[in-house]
């Protein structure tokens, strides 16, 4: 039985990995058909993965309420928001607007989800400002170079900056299109080599962490 548990997943990963790597080099309609159907399947499987993610969140907050951990009251608020949205959403067939008229589901989306998520990240603007004042120090040569480049780019990217110092716009363009592009390209190459190496290790069964090794 353990042979099935251990070896079968590795065999599946190896076969599908080699098959779909080779598919790229085979223009024949048969290989195109394989690609079409499997990518369609991946969409459905991705839908199941979403269900998995959502149930795990459901699970964590249910435990929190059952165990009356501190802040369990807030989990009730979370559940109320979740169930309310689900009931109203399914009631309107998952549509925000039916022929131009916003449904209750659309109302929740426009007046609750959009402002909440937007503001959640807007508070970062304040924190950038306080960090700029308190901790963005040129404590080393590298940090000094970073801050100078940041100031030039900030000045060059806003109309007032280009109005006061017109050259800052051109310098920003040069920094972005040449210096920044070369660094990002080197980082992209480095990360891609890492990604290809990881994929190869997974296909040849050298790397098994994805099998939920750590999970059991």
């Amino acid at each position: 039985m353990t042979l099935l548990r251990r070896q079968l997943p590795l065999l599946i990963t190896f076969v599908t990995g080699i098959l779909f790597a080779a598919q790229y080099y085979i223009p024949h309609p048969a290989s195109e058909l394989m690609l079409t159907s499997v990518s369609k399947w991946l969409q459905i499987i991705a839908g199941f993965a979403l269900i998995l993610g959502v149930t795990s969140l459901f699970h964590i907050h249910a435990v929190k309420i059952r165990r009356k951990e501190p802040g369990w009251g807030y989990s009730f608020v979370l559940y109320a928001g979740m169930l309310g949205t689900i009931v109203i959403g399914l009631w309107h067939g998952g549509k925000e607007t039916t022929d131009g008229v916003t449904t209750a589901f659309g109302w929740i989306y426009t007046f609750m989800m959009v402002p909440l998520q937007g503001t959640m990240f807007a508070i970062l603007a304040f924190f950038i400002a306080s960090a700029a004042y308190r901790s963005f120090r040129a404590r080393s040569r590298e940090a000094a170079v970073l801050l100078i480049a940041a100031v030039i780019v900030m000045m060059g990217r806003v109309p007032l900056g280009e109005h006061l110092i017109p050259i800052s716009g051109d310098i920003t363009q040069w920094i972005l299109n040449v210096l920044n592009a070369s660094v990002r390209r080197a980082i992209l190459i480095g990360i891609s080599l890492g990604a290809v190496a990881l994929s190869l290790k997974i296909i040849f069964g050298v790397e098994r962490a994805y099998l939920g090794g750590g999970k059991e």
Partner: protein, 249 residues
């Protein structure tokens, strides 16, 4: 102005101000809004997943158009859900093995084509041109990204940063100079990223304040003003009650 839009304006303004209270300090109003946000967004994800996956991608094509080949991904997907059954959890590994196997296979040639070959192709450029009269010319203009000087700078940047992330050779002698250049290039690129991120975060704040200004107008019943007063009052009340129980931070 339709009634539900006014109610919506009040709810949106209230939730926005509740979250902004985090700037003062972490307090129940923020926790309330934050958990509501997580709840609503998870609920929205569930509805959309059901509507798109269950109905449009599985039910309609399979039941109505009779495309029974979709039973295979359905089976694999169901296998994935066995992760929560301790005894059958190993079966979920088969589903993951399939998804990860296909994913890795698809990624390898595409990553090499788009992120390695294409990037090398654009970095390998002639460092000088031949003018019509046959003499070698070297274009200096910094502003034209395709000029020779920029091609040299680009090459130096890519080579030095690639060498900085080199771990098999000690950074000594000439290697030290190349690594130092690499670090300087890296810092300039991070500076540019810093500048852009500031613009991004400020835009978020501008977006929220624009809404608050709009909802402060009379046709929305001056929602922002009233709710501002209520929020500050509640904060003071929390602060007073907490001062009695816990030493100030």
């Amino acid at each position: 102005m339709p009634f539900e839009v006014i109610v919506g304006a009040w709810v949106a303004t209230g939730l926005t101000l509740f979250i902004l209270t985090f700037l003062y300090q972490d307090n129940p109003l923020f926790k309330l809004a934050e958990h509501l946000y997580v709840g609503v967004s998870v609920g929205y994800a569930i509805v959309k997943t059901y509507d798109t996956v269950a109905v449009r991608l599985i039910y309609d094509p399979m039941i109505e158009q009779g495309d029974w080949s979709l039973l295979i991904p359905l089976a694999i997907g169901a296998l994935m859900l066995t992760r929560y059954v301790p005894k059958a959890a190993w079966m979920s590994r088969i589903a993951f093995a399939f998804v990860v196997g296909v994913g890795s296979g698809l990624a390898i040639p595409r990553v090499i084509s788009s992120y390695i070959l294409k990037q090398i192709e654009d970095t390998v450029r002639p460092l000088a041109f031949l003018a019509t009269d046959g003499s070698m010319t070297f274009t200096y203009s910094l502003l034209n990204p395709a000029s020779n000087l920029n091609a040299v700078v680009l090459l130096v940047g890519v080579v030095s940063v690639l060498f900085y992330f080199f771990f098999s050779v000690e950074h000594t002698g000439p290697g030290k100079a190349v690594a130092r250049t690499g670090i300087i290039f890296l810092m300039i690129a991070f500076g540019a990223a810093f500048g852009y991120t500031v613009m991004a975060r400020m835009s978020l704040l501008i977006g929220r304040l624009t809404d608050l200004i709009e909802y402060a107008q009379p046709q929305y019943g001056r929602a922002t003003w009233w709710l501002l007063v209520i929020t500050v009052a509640t904060l003071i009340m929390f602060h007073a009650r907490r001062k009695g129980t816990e030493p100030p931070q």
